[in-house]
């Protein structure tokens, strides 16, 4: 039966080993996650700008292309008139 102080020294060793292993493991994981993120992270979605500053495109349900087409049509109509 080893003495208590020997056991304490041993547990100190386990503490150092354990904490450094936990840190090394999770640090490597951080690097891994960053690597994957660099490759596969979704591109930040560019906010859709209003096509024509004069036209309000607040309603989100409308496709920006559609808005552009309608805006162009209105402009043509106004140019004729």
């Amino acid at each position: 039966m080893e003495s208590i102080s020997e056991q304490i020294v041993e547990s100190f060793g386990i503490m150092l080993l354990g904490m450094s292993l936990v840190f090394v493991f999770l640090t490597v994981l951080i690097l891994g996650v960053k690597l994957v993120a660099w490759k596969f992270a979704p591109l930040p979605v560019a906010p859709t700008k209003p096509v024509n500053s004069g036209v309000s495109v607040q309603s989100q349900g409308i496709d920006p292309k559609m808005v552009a087409v309608i805006t162009a049509a209105i402009e043509q109509y106004r140019a004729k008139a």
Binding site: G18, M19, L26, V28, I30
Partner: protein, 376 residues
């Protein structure tokens, strides 16, 4: 008349021992905590009931051939129940918050200091007469600081099956007491200004990242710490089933029916270890005490690490979230959110705390792997 005497000698009243009555009282207390106080009812209810069943004189539940005997023998001695639970927890865990901000893994690592500090504490307790913890016992007790029930049960069944009842009860009671134990420690180590810090919104995470994550964790475990692969492997399997999106049926089963069935038997089997001769010992008191210390130290080191990261990042990290580094998902994260709201009514830290919270699960699984590798 003879029949009456025979009946009497078989009755519970004639055969009760003081210890059994006391342990039934403990079982009733656990039922009370579960039903009235709503402390971890999913586990404390079956554990409490198991404790009552296990202490019935002449009931034979825990004798060879009895229900609780088999539940323990098949599920816990082999380590299968905690592993199945871990698979379910994996299927329930969303690593999105962690993947968006991987630095949070450091908090999950720092909070594991409670485990290793308690290892020394458990050994040092041998100086007190009446205590005789071996290194294996100390390791099994220390894991209470990981605040992760299945991990604690798994490790205790491997290192110190005799102490399993006390360790499981301590682990689950302290997890239930997270809202009481953590806030004072969190306030002690942070200033009001730090608690008010708002954190940036987390970025979106793609499906590919979420699918690769469990595979990467598994790969690292295989390379560095094969002793932790039972825990981490099952956890990653559950998580991959969830994130892959192709086996929703399996994922649903793992996080609902399967984990529920296993929880019933796990609780009963743990309760069966609360028999008078095993539980009513001075060592149990020591385990309960060490568990609380482990928990408190883990919380403190998590918060201190977060404080350091706050300083290094120029005040972008709220130190409170470090407290969530002790697993106890999702209770610890909710506590962080609550304490944060007390300082700033518009500061919702829940999503930010989920990162260190799930990192804590990985951290304690890794710590358990280290203890098994070194002591097992």
């Amino acid at each position: 008349m003879e029949g009456l005497i025979a009946f009497w000698s078989e009755s519970g009243i004639a055969n009760f021992t003081g210890g059994q009555l006391l342990m039934m009282g403990v079982g009733a207390l656990l039922l009370y905590l579960a039903i009235v106080k709503k402390f971890e009812p999913l586990l404390l209810l079956p554990i409490g009931f198991g404790a009552i069943l296990a202490n019935i004189p002449n009931g034979g539940f825990t004798d060879e051939g009895g229900l609780l005997y088999f539940a323990y023998h098949v599920g816990i001695e082999t380590g299968i129940f905690p592993l199945l639970i871990f698979m379910g927890v994996g299927a329930m865990t969303d690593f999105g918050a962690l993947i968006a901000n991987p630095k949070m893994l450091l908090l999950g690592a720092a909070a594991q200091f409670g485990i290793f500090a308690t290892l020394i504490g458990a050994v040092a307790l041998n100086f007190v007469p009446g205590f005789d913890f071996s290194m294996k016992d100390a390791g099994a007790i220390a894991i209470i600081g990981g605040a992760d029930g299945p991990t604690a049960i798994f490790l205790a069944s491997k290192l110190a099956p005799d102490l399993l009842g006390a360790i499981a009860v301590a682990a689950y009671s302290y997890m239930a007491l997270v809202p009481l134990i953590q806030p004072p420690i969190m306030r002690l180590f942070t200033t009001e200004a730090e608690r008010k810090i708002k954190m940036e919104q987390l970025r979106e995470v793609s499906k590919k990242e979420k699918i690769i994550f469990p595979l990467m964790v598994l790969g690292l475990t295989i390379l560095f710490l094969p002793a932790a692969t039972p825990l981490v492997g099952m956890f990653c399997l559950g998580n991959l089933m969830r994130e892959s999106g192709v086996v929703d049926r399996l994922s649903n089963t793992a996080q609902n029916e399967l984990i529920n069935i296993v929880t019933i038997f796990l609780g009963l089997a743990v309760g069966s270890k609360l028999s008078a001769d095993k539980f009513l010992q001075i060592e149990t008191l020591g385990i309960l005490l060490l568990g609380a210390v482990a928990f408190a130290i883990g919380t403190a080191t998590g918060v201190l690490m977060a404080k350091l990261m706050c300083k290094l990042s120029g005040g972008k990290i709220n130190p409170l979230i470090g407290a969530a580094g002790v697993s106890a998902v999702p209770m610890a994260a909710r506590v962080v959110n609550k304490v944060g709201l007390e300082s700033n009514q518009h500061n919702f830290l829940l999503m930010h705390a989920m990162g260190p919270n799930v990192a804590g699960v990985l951290g304690s699984a890794v710590a358990a792997g280290v203890l098994i590798a070194v002591l097992g």
